[in-house]
Point group: none
Chain length 509, copies 2
């Protein structure tokens, strides 16, 4: 279970920092390095937005397997490599081989960038992970502006990839570039791990990370990921856990061909009737998963953890409105967040092979495949979950005495991730947030699955932090994705402040 | 209830016919008109197949509302009108107006053809109903050949529409054309009622039939429909009843947009969970419909009816094999046929709005619509069924206490049909079957819905017969639809023989 209590030392440091901050504003002395950095970032914010615009203009869609899009993606990675070299970084562009598509087509996987800036043994080494690829977007899907032309409206920078993940990657680069431009000594050694296949399952990344464990990653102190969102429009957050995911398919087959419901209706064990019964046995109306044993390994809630949920800001009314949901399953903030972050959930996604088009087709589908997934939390074990689900469905199916064939399969399994919030980089990030935003962050988890955190943590044995910049309404993966100018610019400052806090902790630890 | 006993007169006639048949083969006298017709059909069978190939090549799909397909459909109707004119028929191509689609789009309904050949008051007038439109078909759905290129393999003519209904329409035309080519007097006056919207609910047809009751239909003695299948691969059948159909949609909506299952999984009444529970409440594993009261108005089985089922030929083993079904819900021929023909059945067709593609998408669909239908039998009342289903689903939904909205709607309602088997055209058809196939037909019903039979019978007050040509394994509406060359050619002969038998009965009645 996560350790989230603030240490006494941390509280003392926070107090001193506030005191120092107060002294500055009271006496306005000559600006220190951070103030100069902040000024620089404020003064150059239009340049930073311009660069984001140039990056958004590249349709680096890794999801749709089209050669044209793959060329765009390769171009995007080249742009980023140039930018990193411009900072003075040594950039290795590591060949990642080819992607085999189901239809036999082969597409190049964009190279993975490993970049390094500084190797001072007295400084901590901070590695930033980010990605340059985006989800598909077409204006006719419901965008109000061209998704690949960054458009600013009321301080909102609309465009595909603005918040996921080009904006945060550039914010990190902006922070470094401010130090460089002002000729200030970078307080940390910086590494970059930048890929172009995140939206397509981070192909080839895990293998490279494993290979570089005792190379590129050996000197790294912590890894920063900035690839998700706050849970508020204005209050920053730190993320210390993500749920995993077990994605299941359950196929029921009578025969390969469909039947006509007039010619066969009444005498068959219809596969859809079997499948609907199977899917209906998974979760009850209150969201409780009905698979026996599934909650056995879920970590119990500690008193300490309860307080974190009580401390988290969530305006239920605003959340309900922005989600356009009439009523959630839970009425309190604590219950709601716990069911999003620290309890498993089961969602039924759909059915392959049944009639899905508009209109009234009188078909008895001959072979249908239901799809559902379970979001996993510590300490659920993926192979145990697989066995529990399979045995449950086999039991339900056997009770029906159907003549059809049923096949259950776990198509995808991704572990949950949880960090130790007493790790150094969480303290540094909290302090940086206080400096830039004047507030404590929400300590949150993410209900969705970001496999890279778990992969990086397990493979490199380095500690990982998620330090998001985007607001809750940024709409990643959705139409009209945006990042607020304020988040992008203050986020660049946040990273700069984080460098300094990491350096301070490094010398004092 | 159907009267299916053979009359004594009929038995005598059958005997005489067999006797006459035996005399011909013994002494080989100069061929009579029917023998010449049969010879002609045999000799010209490749031409008839070639015409079917030309018709199959037209993608006259009326189901998918695409302008391109609608143009194909109009072209198909034009081809048929030309063909009928080629026979010497007077053809009226009746404008049928426009189809309003739910999205506001408007498509032309293909004209309905009313054609007449002969008006001799001394002859009976036989009207043939058929349709030129087809169900959608794409090779990637699992066709072994291009669905719109008629392909012959081992005497099977594969292609969309071969058996449903282009083949039978052409068989009727082939029969007429044989008389014409040989300059034989047509023993009956022939009318054609040919439409292009059968698969889309026969839009505009009923109105036209009503309008033409005392016009086109006034001189008609009987109406022949050949739009279904035998229940055997080799033994012909006559059909005296069809089931109706009530097609329902049940929509569950949380919001219009989908959700991400990571970001919202665990806190929502997910529409798919609601829908799966609703669909799962409709029918049990034994095929029994669970909607309260639904069996109340189903006609009880009479002793006489039981005998018809006992007399019907059905090789269960062959039927199971040709259907590629491991086990049916019932083990005896009688139970099986009764559940196909004279009991209602409920089939779940699919879900609109959920994830239906290959792959693993982690979506919580925001709004989903389940589709199912109930095959109706005498004396179920459609509006009673509508109320029963709606109240049942409302009850199940209310028990879930879900915050979603549910909407039930009966999208389509079609009455069942039953004929009087002692009507003249049943006798004529039986005799024609004995002549061509040397056997008694199976007296059967059809579990599927051919609303036109009920509409034509009720509106014109003329007696209707269904005289199918296709074999049980033809796969109408399915992948790899086919008609056997043998069925197509012998079916053309059957129609020719039927003309003669109708004429004989007309003069002797």
């Amino acid at each position: 279970s996560p350790a989230v209590a603030h240490s006494q030392a941390e509280s003392l440091l926070a107090f001193l920092l506030l005191l120092v901050g107060g002294m500055f504003s009271a006496s306005t002395p000559p600006p220190g390095p951070l103030e100069k950095i902040f000024q620089y970032i404020d003064l150059h914010q239009d340049e930073f937005v311009q660069t984001l615009k140039e990056w958004v203009a590249v349709e680096s869609d890794s999801v749709q397997p089209a050669p044209r899009l793959r060329r765009e993606l390769l171009h995007m990675v080249g742009l980023a490599a140039d930018r990193l070299r411009g900072l003075g970084a040594r950039v290795a562009s590591v060949d990642a081989g080819f992607q085999q598509l189901p239809d036999g087509q082969t597409l190049p996987i964009p190279p993975i960038l490993l970049a390094e800036l500084g190797s001072d043994p007295k400084k901590p080494t901070v590695c930033f992970y980010g990605h340059l690829d985006v989800q598909p977007a077409r204006q006719e899907d419901g965008w109000l502006t061209d998704p690949y032309t960054l458009t600013e409206v009321d301080g909102k920078l609309y465009g595909r990839g603005t918040t996921d993940n080009k904006g945060p990657v550039l914010a990190w680069i902006n922070a470094v570039s401010a130090f460089k431009a002002l000729d200030e000594d970078l307080p940390v050694n910086i590494k970059f791990l930048i890929e172009g296949m995140e939206e397509a399952g981070s192909l080839a990344l895990e293998e490279l990370v494993r290979k570089e464990k005792s190379g590129f990653f050996s000197s790294v102190d912590c890894i920063v990921i900035s690839d998700n969102l706050w849970i508020s429009q204005r209050k920053p957050a730190l993320i210390y856990g993500t749920r995993g995911n077990s994605y299941f398919t359950v196929e029921v087959k009578c025969r390969d061909q469909d039947f006509h419901s007039g010619t066969f209706g009444g005498i068959l064990n219809e596969p859809m009737a079997d499948l609907v019964a199977l899917l209906g046995s998974l979760v009850d109306a209150s969201g409780h998963i009905l698979v026996p044993g599934i909650y056995e390994h879920v970590a119990p809630v500690t008193e300490e953890e309860k307080r974190v949920y009580e401390d988290t800001d969530l305006d239920m009314e605003e959340y309900r409105n922005s989600s356009q949901v009439k009523r959630f399953l839970f009425d309190t903030k604590e219950e709601l967040l716990m069911h999003l972050w620290r309890y498993p959930s089961l969602s039924i996604h759909g059915i392959e092979g049944a009639f899905h088009e508009p209109g009234a087709k009188t078909v008895i589908p001959g072979r249908v495949m239901g799809k559902f997934s379970i979001r996993l939390v510590p300490h659920m074990d993926m192979s145990v979950v697989e066995t529990q689900v399979t045995q449950h469905l086999e039991y339900i199916f056997s009770k029906r005495n159907s003549s059809n064939q049923m096949t259950v399969s776990m198509a995808l399994g991704l572990h949950p991730w949880i960090a130790n919030v007493s790790d150094r980089q969480y303290l540094a990030a909290k302090r940086a947030i206080r400096t830039v935003f004047g507030t404590e962050p929400d300590m949150i988890r993410d209900g969705s699955t970001i496999p890279i955190a778990k992969i990086l943590q397990d493979t490199t044995q380095k500690s990982v932090i998620m330090l998001p910049l985007g607001a809750v309404d940024d709409g990643e993966h959705s139409q009209n994705e945006k990042i607020n100018r304020w988040n992008y610019i203050e986020g660049s400052k946040l990273f700069a402040a984080f460098f300094l806090e990491m350096a301070k902790l490094h010398s004092s630890w």
